[in-house]
């Protein structure tokens, strides 16, 4: 029963977001009460669809290399050759996670200027930590009996990694990717304060012009996107866990 309800809710949310992005003007009457007298009810300085696409592109462009590099590093420090760096890398991950994303974003601006770059850098750096942490947990958490059996059946190091350790660690790694993506989506919203194209622009324009209709549509849209993405990746992770 509850699975059906969840599926229906999921579908309704996606449909609602798509409808809002494709024909935003149809929602104008709903938002008009929140707009100031004479102000626009729907953000009109850029198309909401274009902003959403640009927002998602920045997130993907930052997270894909972040995932590749952090999984690579996790593999490196979980091998004998990099074992010496294991405690240090754990400590760096712990310390790194105390850095607020806004601070990372703001500190990147003096180095690379305004626009998409500081956002990309902050998203990339912040995306590294959860994936690295989870990949490490997944790779070092392979049950000793399984690792022993793989070694006993004559598998070489790379074979064990590709056929045993990575598949077993995949659900945990995906959970890390999920956390990274949600943080990135959120931080990309703040990216609008440094002139990156994204949905944060709508919220900030609303805050600056006292237009609650803008604040609400930007806020609800990014909130809905985050929920859809988080929930969707959760489904994917569950599928891989079941198969593995």
């Amino acid at each position: 029963m509850s699975a059906v309800v969840a599926a229906a809710l999921r579908f309704a949310l996606v449909a609602l977001v798509l409808a809002f992005l494709l024909v935003p003007d149809a929602f104008a009457p709903l938002l008009a009460p929140f707009a100031p007298p004479g102000g626009a009810a729907i953000y009109d300085r850029a198309s909401l669809l274009a902003l959403t696409v640009s927002h998602l592109l920045i997130v993907v462009a930052a997270i894909v290399p972040a995932v590749a590099i952090s999984v690579g590093l996790a593999i490196l420090v979980s091998r004998p050759i990099g074992a010496e760096f294991l405690p240090l890398s754990r400590a760096i991950v712990n310390i790194g996670q105390t850095f607020p994303p806004v601070a990372v974003l703001a500190l990147a601006v003096p180095v690379v200027g305004f626009g998409a770059w500081p956002t990309l850098i902050a998203l990339f750096l912040y995306g590294l930590l959860p994936v690295f942490e989870n990949a490490l947990a997944g790779l070092t958490g392979v049950p000793p009996a399984v690792a022993e059996a793989a070694r006993g059946s004559g598998m070489t190091g790379p074979q064990r990694l590709l056929q045993v350790e990575l598949p077993l660690a995949l659900p945990v790694i995906l959970e890390g990717v999920r956390i990274s993506l949600v943080i990135a989506l959120s931080t990309a919203t703040i990216g609008s304060t440094v002139a990156a194209k994204g949905l944060g622009e709508v919220i900030i324009a609303g805050l600056n012009s006292n237009n609650l209709a803008f604040v609400l549509q930007g806020g609800l849209l990014t909130g809905a996107l985050a929920v859809i993405l988080y929930d969707g990746l959760g489904q994917v992770a569950r599928l891989t866990a079941r198969r593995g």
Binding site: P100, V102, A103, V182, I190, T193, L207, L221, D231
Partner: protein, 382 residues
């Protein structure tokens, strides 16, 4: 017998050597003039520059060849301290000679060297494996050194402190707001989250729905949540008698406070429930067999055993809140974010640093102190 050099010492020692060849400081004739790089020997008096180079060579040598963590820690910490003193000296030297409006900021060489040294210090501390008290002592020593440098006026020539002097009153006021937001919402989240965690631990049916609901709330981007909350809180302020007098407003601290509270709920509830679930069944049965009531079992057996996990939740919330409170500035809620966003608006790096550095430091101190506290509890994870 040839010993291979330390694996970490090679990249970090190399980075340190390269960093010293790069500009130590950047100099601007006034606040908006373009920055000009200043190398080690241009920025420092000869004696200082030679001392820095000498210490750096020692640090590189120790990083490459020394094995004993205590020695590595001592030398790299000493070099880090020297670097911090040197950048202040550079500020004083470069802005000397009547250049009243001159701005001196740390340059790329300083940041790279500081990064390499911070990694070396962290590595040495990790290798020493200090207990919780040792970590607290190290933190206290670092804070004391930082405090002494600030009080001594060694950094007064740096532009971050020039920005501070211009708005000292605002700095402490916004710092107070920041702490109020972070700790206030934490307190409310503990008061609400622990009972909720106990409730879903008892009524298992509700556990999954409540935790899933809270984690969905956590995924909503902070600016979005802060913005969305303006609407209901504005309505409450306008329509509920007395609410406005209590400080409830559409914009300002109220929506920021509520948003931080909402984000704090998941770690508090989830960790309380997880901590209680990890209490061995035998323990609760024994407590029941001794004739303790449900309430007594909870207060004197289950909650004390779950305390380390609950405290870990508090650590997560506090570090998260300190970071997120920065966003409050966007909706008029104050906090250190005020300087970050003002700085972004004026492209004033020093102003950004004035807001970002205390935030990072606060989050770091909170993490170290709470981690150590968790480890000091009886029966804590080791």
């Amino acid at each position: 017998m040839g010993r291979s050099p330390d694996k970490l010492g090679v990249p970090m020692g190399g980075l340190l050597a390269v960093a010293l060849a790069l500009p130590l400081a950047s100099y601007r004739a006034n606040r908006i003039a373009p920055a000009e790089p200043r190398g080690l020997f241009e920025a420092l008096p000869l004696s200082w520059a030679l001392a820095v180079v000498g210490l750096a060579l020692a640090a590189v040598a120790v990083a490459l060849a020394a094995r004993r963590p205590a020695l590595r820690l001592a030398v790299s910490a000493l070099m880090l301290l020297a670097l911090l003193m040197a950048i202040g000296e550079a500020g004083r030297t470069l802005s000397a000679g009547g250049a009243q409006y001159a701005r001196v900021a740390p340059g790329v060489g300083f940041w790279l060297a500081a990064f390499a040294l911070a990694i070396l210090v962290t590595d040495a501390i990790v290798r020493l494996r200090p207990g919780p008290l040792g970590r607290l002592a190290a933190l206290a020593a670092a804070l004391a050194a930082l405090g002494l440098i600030l009080v001594s006026g060694q950094w007064d020539g740096l532009s971050v402190l020039a920005e501070y002097r211009g708005r000292a009153a605002a700095f402490w006021r916004e710092g107070g707001h920041h702490l109020q937001l972070a700790f206030g919402s934490l307190a409310v989240a503990v008061a609400a989250g622990v009972p909720l965690g106990i409730a879903i631990h008892r009524a298992r049916r509700f556990k999954a729905p409540v935790l899933n609901g809270l984690s969905l709330l956590q995924t909503i981007p902070s600016i979005a949540l802060f913005g969305i909350l303006i609407v209901p809180l504005g309505w409450v302020a306008a329509n509920v008698p007395g609410a406005a007098a209590l400080g409830v407003q559409g914009i300002g601290m109220a929506p920021a406070f509520v948003a931080l509270f909402i984000y704090s709920l998941l770690p508090m509830v989830a960790n309380t429930a997880a901590g209680l679930a990890a209490v061995p069944a035998g323990v609760t049965e024994a407590a029941a067999g001794m004739g303790l009531t449900r309430r007594q079992q909870l207060a004197s057996v289950e909650l004390p055993l779950a305390l380390p996990v609950i405290l870990t939740g508090i650590r997560i919330v506090l570090v998260q809140n300190i970071g997120l409170a920065t966003i409050a500035a966007l909706i008029g809620g104050g906090g250190f974010g005020t300087f970050v966003f003002q700085g972004l608006g004026q492209t004033a790096t020093d102003l950004i640093l004035l807001g970002a550095l205390p935030t990072v430091a606060l989050a770091f101190v909170a993490a170290v102190v709470l981690d150590a506290t968790v480890d000091l509890l009886p029966g804590a994870r080791r």
